[in-house]
Amino acid sequence: MSANGELGSRTVRETIPIPPEVYREMGLNDEEYRRVVAVLGRHPTYTELGMYAVMWSEHCGYKFSRPILKLFRKYREAIEGSGLENAGLIDIGGGFGIAMKMESHNHPSAVEPFQGAATGVGGILRDIFTMGARPIACLNSLRFGNLDDPRNRYLFEHVVGGIAFYGNCVGVPTVGGEVYFDDCYSGNPLVNVLSVGLVRLDEVAFARACGPGNPVMLVGSRTGRDGIHGATFASVELGPDSESRRPNVQIGDPFTEKCLIEATLEALKTGYIVGIQDMGAAGITCSTCETAAKAGTGMRIDVRKVPLREKSMTPYEIMLSESQERMLAIVQKGHENDVARIFTKWGLNASIIGEVTDDGLVHVYDGDELVAQVPAKSLAEEAPTYELDTEEPDYLRRVQDYDLSHIHEPDDYNEVLLKLLGSPTIASKEWVYEQYDHMVQTNTVVLPGSDAAVVRIRGTKKAIAITTDCNGRYCYLDPYLGAQIAVAEAARNLACCGAKPMAVTDCLNFGNPEKPEVFWQFRKCVEGMAEACEFFEAPVVSGNVSFYNETPDAVIYPTPVVGMLGLIEDVEKRCTSEFKREGEIIALICGWSTNDESRCDLNSLGGSEYLKIVHGLAVGKPPALLMEKEKRVHRAVLKAIDELLLSSAHDCSEGGLATALAEGCIMGDVGAKISLIANCGPAAALFAETQSRVVVSLPIEKLSRLREIAEEEQVQITVLGKTGGDKLEIKVNDEPVISVKIKDLSEAWRGSIPSAMEK
């Protein structure tokens, strides 16, 4: 571009047909290529081809998932209305909003766990602060194969290390998350990172390239050859040649990100930025065409103006680079310097690379030469979508109909409890969260270890609670029910902290969607999740899809991770899960009535950690869920916390009631004497993962009021016993079955992951 904005060429030089093997290698099929030609009215240039390939990949274009995601109400409304934003925005009152999103970085983490996980954190943070929100917390939801395998230990160690490296340096506390271990994730680790940010609702920034003539600025790091075609990489299965695709891995620089956060928020305060978009997958291509498409404008950029880290990069490489720590800002004309000065102060590049146009096209120049000229909307919003076939998988009947009646009672219940507590999925995750700075920003008022993390909103009485949940085994055994349980459990976790559910962000991790059984799982999970989210009044406001999580040897369980945000109006009224002192009543708040207990699946061990750990089985139906009953439990718990009746509240999940009790004892360093009445065997009474149950402790004088609340909300209260002593003792139908020192429980629970990692 010359100084007066006049350009050398105005049309793309004559183009020739691209050979099929070239566009196929980039991930476009024949039909899609024909479509590109139809849109352009000519054959694409090499640069254009790359731009379409990456924007129309599943990762960016959601070509397979979009039709199904429309089951999420807000998603549908956004698509049909003003478009999707970088993150969901939730009004928490008082003029404040919370931006929230979760994202996967599974494929990069499988090949380079440290940098893969680190750049995952960086990416999700940019989605948050690009909206003008200051990131105030991160969570991570992780899945690995069995820790007996050194490769899985390596992945676990380095994924956690990468998250710590990046999150700690940028000064955003990593306050919670979850880690599951199962063989199906061997070779396919899942790394999902969630971030939330705080923004004044009248200061939200948008990803819109408004105002033709406004300059377009690239800020942050220089551009290198990192991660070219990363999005395409995320849209294929991992195979033996994944190693050779490794140049796709990007390197993160959390120091630059920290400066970028501060500079961006400071620059947005000037009011001179009219639109801003982070750069993630598909880099400059994605951010230019999305911001232009959303504003109904176009954009003209010159790749020669892009500050480069490496010499002689081609326009193709510059447009597709996924170099980290960069943003695209559209600035009010005449105020370029006011904005640039702020980025320079923070030691960052800020270069004008082009300007907004009014013709709906993205024009890419290489100096004087026009190398791409494509309709912005065709890239950003008109990716072809496909209605894929679905087919119920064969395994389903087999696992669901598995006859559990021959599962015999164990000889020694103490041993089983210790084994369950030591199962890495249940064991304490202290080894993980100790590596994360979970206190920086001094707002974390419930530290990791409880059912959900609680972060206060400084300057108000409010706090938010956040949790991530998903039991992939349940979803494997019954995708629809499994996804509903994930939502119910998330809401239950929030209730245990005293928080009312507000919104959900999700990360949908599945195998290859082009396999009808996988796509069936996907659809069922989304159906279950969409319904449950509406029911619990926590609509899905953002999310992410990760397909192709499979290797030739294994497909992952369907793993639709739910990240849920809740609100606590008065931060003083929050609750944690550990027993607090001796001599208090321990009770169970349960959604099921005694009548329900005749339902045969209620005390079922189907899908439980017990079956997995003790019998090596992943069979049965997941525990039953009736959402109405579940919701009553939440209401009762919330009311009891609001009236300051409870000393602790802890939900029953993996490992069942005995595990929940043991965790309450271990974390509170106090024993308990428990007596259960059951119409099933002790194993089921102790270890079944029956839903809609919360273990609470309270002073005895508060019990009568709790009973009244239970009556009002139509839930059952059962007094289970009392805290005290240095042992957990449990009787089932007057038969002593468990008696273990808290010290021993603690060793099994706390020692498990560290000792697995010492191997």
Partner: protein, 229 residues
């Protein structure tokens, strides 16, 4: 009195320190940009935690050359109070305002947790509201907090009562198990020769409200205020 909280690129506990001073101590406080050279209006400077310059090369190694650091040096030479917390401690050591160095934790991992420290010196400007042997519950959050100094320096620190805090168990016993990072002699904080410059790895600014789990950090911050007023 007036506090200044120094902001290096990559500092991330600057706001926490600022809020602790403003909201809890209710004292005037400014952020001080790393290129500032005039510190004359301050009575106490806080070098906050974080990852100045990404902690690249060595923790604190690059921040030490920020323009503000020569001013900090002069400020300290004139007897002004300076406290470095975590990354701030690392910077002060690199700048030779405090002796020794901070190596990577012997666990080789970042550690963030509440723990206990014992007050070893109860007359310093930073701890005079404590009593000797008092056990404070304050969190740490660092990757390089393993304090090291040469044997003769250690002797000097001991003899001159310049060890401020030591990691201990909840009863105040200084044990190997209570040492989170391999620090020599369980040292968690030290003083300079004149007693006006302190460095500590634990974060007192994180333990200033019962809501956050402890208020023990306030005793340290308030000591500074009382000493100056």
């Amino acid at each position: 009195m007036k506090f200044g909280v120094i902001q290096f690129p990559g500092s991330n506990c600057d706001q926490d320190a600022y809020f602790a001073v403003r909201d809890i101590l209710q004292q005037p406080v400014d952020y001080v940009w790393h290129q500032e050279s005039n510190l004359s209006k301050y009575d106490c400077l806080i070098l906050p935690g974080g990852f100045s310059y990404g902690d690249y090369l060595r923790t604190g190694a690059i921040a030490r050359f920020s323009p503000v650091m020569s001013a900090v040096q002069e400020f300290a030479d004139r007897g002004g109070l300076v406290i470095g917390i975590c990354n701030g401690f690392q910077i002060l050591c690199e700048a030779h305002l405090l002796p020794g160095a901070l190596l990577p934790n012997n666990t080789l991992r970042f550690r963030c947790k509440y723990l206990h420290v014992r007050v070893e010196n109860d007359s310093s400007s930073f701890t005079h509201l404590c009593h000797r042997g008092q056990v404070l519950r304050i969190p740490i959050a660092h990757h390089s907090g393993c304090y090291y100094c040469e044997p003769d320096v250690l002797k000097e620190l001991e003899n001159k009562d310049r060890i401020l805090l030591r990691y201990c168990d909840r009863d105040g016993n200084v044990t190997e198990e209570s040492n989170p990072n391999g620090s020599i002699s369980n040292i968690a904080g030290v003083l300079n020769e004149h007693g006006n410059v302190a460095g500590m790895m634990p974060h007192p600014e994180r333990a200033v409200e019962s809501l956050l789990g402890s208020e023990d950090g306030v005793i340290i911050l308030r000591s500074i205020v009382e000493r100056i007023s």
